[in-house]
Assembly symmetry: C2
Homo-oligomer: 554 residues x 2
């Protein structure tokens, strides 16, 4: 019998499957705040305010205290505490009672519950938006879109991929082998989908929901329990997510312990690694530093580990039809959330002899200056700038700007802006430097934050060469290129395919290289060091469950 939650959301699931197949535009959850009704914004704001200076209620098993010291990058303490778990007790609660019934429930229940959770999360998009804004520092609109509907779309996409795998396994088969004149050999075969066990989702402090939902929903929709370990600086968005999931599970008659929160303070730095090595943890989805991601890949041998780590995203400028539009587009990409996106560019490679444009030859310095001017214009009005920049998530990023400033020649310096509503907000405009020596080790590192380099190369072939080298050795999630020449476009594409990075050409208008569209863009490739998996393909879900068959004579 089909599970009622599966039936309720089946049309949505079919739409999502169709979108993932055609990869044309699709979004299940509206990114327009106004489409949520007049009261939604205020209610979400009130719900967020009510969370402040209070204990977050979760009624989770094996609670033994509290954790939580989040501070808004906009300059105030959230002052929220979260239940802290006795880890052994929590694992026991999950494996002894919660998991067996969940495993038995079967694929339609798993997928139906996952879809209902997404549906309810969507209704909480404003509350989650404020939670994301005041933990990550994103400006409100990005926090709403990326933290709410876009993250939900990514969750839905993972469920769709999972269902696409699950539905291919028949429940049973009659196997009948002809034996010439004799009776055929006949077996009845039954195929049981057996989830791996517990999936651990390790969140980051910049996109706590957008980066966590693919793994969370991929594991849940394939019948696993999910433990969510948020970054200590961005617990609230995932705590709300976990609370919603637990509510749906309980209403559907399952143990809420199937989705749990493992909040911890930054000081308890050994907890994540200890968790990751637990034998019960069979899947790990991680977003964070290369050091931690690589450690997990090497040490958490009992689990299938999916990581998104650091990268050095390049822009290759060969030529352009429109220098101003190119400069505006790049300036926006560098400024959006202060360069704190895994997709934000860092190194801009420009031939030392300059580039061709429709308006004639522009020297290297002219290209750097055009981008610099576009940045200056973008951040000239602080009230408008902060809606693009957001706030810098932590002091480490702000300190990195000061270090970077001495590395090259300053094209545009980073400055502090004052936020009209939040006087203590940590706002920094982008720092743009130029470099003559293209091979410096500096450029091979990730400078996470509003820091970018315009780099003089011998020529475009050299730009392609060193950009490819950086991608192959240090990883990248995006590569952007500007050229009016088909041969260069082919060369860039060939190199991008060889080193395994997605490429965007000639973005001049309202699309930015930072953006990754659910159901259409493959986010990360799993083919360079920035990530060991693509988060939107069959390989991301197909190994989260196994099939155990039984057969008998008929």
């Amino acid at each position: 019998m089909t599970h009622p939650l599966f039936t309720r959301h089946q049309a949505l699931l079919e739409d999502a499957l169709n979108a993932a197949r055609t990869r044309s535009f699709y979004s299940a959850f509206s990114e327009l705040p106004k489409s949520y009704g007049g009261a939604a914004a205020e209610e979400g704001r009130a719900a967020f305010d009510a969370r402040l200076h209070a204990a977050f209620e979760l009624q989770q098993a094996a609670t033994v205290g509290a954790a939580g010291h989040e501070r808004s990058p906009y300059g105030f303490d959230l002052d929220i505490t979260y239940p802290k778990a006795d880890v052994d007790g929590l694992f026991a609660a999950i494996t002894r009672t919660a998991l067996p019934a969940w495993r038995q429930a079967g694929r339609e229940a798993w997928v139906g519950v996952a879809l209902e959770i997404l549906h309810r999360l969507n209704r909480r998009s404003f509350e989650i938006a404020y939670a994301v804004m005041h933990t990550t520092g994103q400006a409100f609109m990005m926090a709403f879109q990326a933290g709410g509907p876009h993250a939900q779309d990514r969750g839905l996409e993972a469920v769709a991929y999972a269902w696409d795998e699950l539905r291919r396994i028949p429940v049973e088969a009659i196997w009948e082998k002809p034996q010439g004149k004799n009776e055929p050999l006949k077996l009845h075969k039954r195929y049981t989908i057996v989830p791996r066990g517990i999936g651990l989702v390790i969140g980051c402090c910049t996109f706590p929901t957008w980066n966590a939902y693919p793994g969370l929903f991929a594991s849940l929709a394939t019948g696993n329990a999910v433990m969510v370990k948020p970054h200590p600086a961005a617990i609230l968005p995932l705590a709300i997510t976990v609370a919603v999931a637990r509510e749906v599970l309980a209403e559907a008659g399952f143990s809420p312990e199937l989705v749990t929160l493992l909040a911890h303070d930054a000081a308890e730095e050994r907890l994540p690694r200890a968790l990751a090595l637990r034998p019960e943890v069979r899947l790990i989805d991680f977003t964070g530093s290369s050091a931690n991601g690589t450690w997990l890949e090497q040490h958490a041998r009992q689990a299938r580990v999916y990581t998104e780590k650091a990268g050095v995203n390049p822009i290759i400028i060969d030529s352009t039809s429109d220098l101003e539009a190119m400069a505006r587009n790049i300036a926006f990409s560098l400024s959006l959330y202060s360069g704190q996106m895994c997709t934000a560019p860092q190194n801009i490679y420009v031939p030392k002899e300059g580039i061709d444009t429709l308006g004639g030859r522009v020297p290297f310095d002219g290209v750097a200056d055009a981008i610099g001017a576009a940045i200056r214009k973008l951040v000239a009005d602080p009230a408008r700038a902060v809606e693009v920049l957001g706030a810098v998530q932590n002091e480490g990023i702000a300190a990195r700007i000061a270090i970077a400033r001495n590395m090259g020649e300053v094209v545009v310096d980073s400055t502090s802006l004052t936020h009209p509503q939040f006087p203590d907000a940590r706002i920094r405009t982008p720092l743009l430097l130029k470099f003559r020596g293209a091979d410096e080790e500096t450029l091979m590192q990730e400078w996470f934050g509003p820091i970018a380099f315009v780099v003089a190369t011998e020529d475009t072939a050299h730009s392609i060469e060193i950009a490819s080298k950086a991608v192959a050795e240090r990883g990248a999630i995006t590569l952007s290129a500007y050229t009016t020449r088909d041969t260069v476009m082919d060369d860039v594409r060939t190199s991008a395919e060889a080193v395994g990075v997605a490429v965007s050409f000639n973005l001049l208008g309202g699309i930015f290289v930072n953006q990754s569209a659910a159901f259409s863009d493959f986010h990360a490739t799993g083919a360079n060091p920035a990530a060991n998996a693509c988060f939107t393909d069959a390989a991301f879900v197909a190994d989260r469950f196994r099939v155990v068959q039984s057969r008998r004579h008929l």
Copy 2:
């Protein structure tokens, strides 16, 4: 444009895809020798004979000598030498010239070429049968079926799974995002399938083709090059396979270096590990010992590693409708290829108080004696016995029988038989022991070869408990159970699902637990230590390629 080899075999591919979806009986390649025409057997035999005492021609790049010291378990040296590769030179030949054009050729070429190779291998089934027989020791009929058509069916199954993944990636998409009253944002997106690089296939000495074809064809059909490293004792079957693949590649206009043979002698024991750590090797398919498989999983971090390792396959006997038929079925499973199958049972758990049968209560000793009597009957006539037993592959297995003999109480002793055609063949009948103490460490180890134990347990619940423990800790590919009680069947199935092993119930007739049917049975689960992957599912193929997209404004 569709590749002509794809078009030629498209109907076959559709049939295979359909079979894998329904998992009912399907076989593309006939297992009946007579269906290959009257001359085929003699031609195959002649082709094999012509291979003996000669150098195997391969015209492979970077050849710098010769390897090969195979000896038939039927008692004669093959005296064949194979080209030995300068490893650096071979990698260079593959990556510099062979791979780029192959990558560009695209999915229909990859799949078309793979299917044509399988088609031609099928026509060589007799030659391969003799090659398998005289390297592994399998009796002729098994060598023909498992080494020829069944292995080819498994290769086809891998190609079908690969195609099922490849075809889901659109070539391109128009992505058009509405912008209210403004013009929509429009992007053209192109999705390129990028193979991982080089797949290394490490063969075993018992099923050189059957165990190698899934990985070989999964990697090749997803656009990778494949290096085949046979076990030093079973090179010939894979050398013929490689030669056929190279012939097809060359005819199709591709470099034959896309499929290469890395033959080596047993003395060069460091070669496999050195190969496995090469940065060019991005996929490894391994069949062999747990020690080597686990080493690969832990050390070959640059590659995706798929392993099939050792296991301890149990039989749980609770009760049966037909003691004689059960004993015959088990005796045959223990005797077939002298227990040298990864699916062969080892530990037979029987309650110490005996079991219920339709003919009344049978004590523990009676069950052991029934199986023993069935073994004795099966091997009574040496001329017929050798067609089931085949020969013991190596002296180490023969020596293991002598060690095992002292471990418990002998029910049936192992004896040497004389083969009517091959007086020097290494033929051993099964050794069956009984044990009263069920928890002995002896039983938790794999005793590869014609060695089995009947183990007295407290009761069936105890049998299930210790069988499950062995599966969870040491791994198993198969679990067989006999019971007339539905509750026991449920308990066994629940335990099998929990520890991740396929289970067969009440096999009394012409189906044996050792058998795994392509397109229907999931071979291995990837959920216990015997294998880290299932060899017949989407997860086995989906990570062998990546998608790299490019997008541009429209």
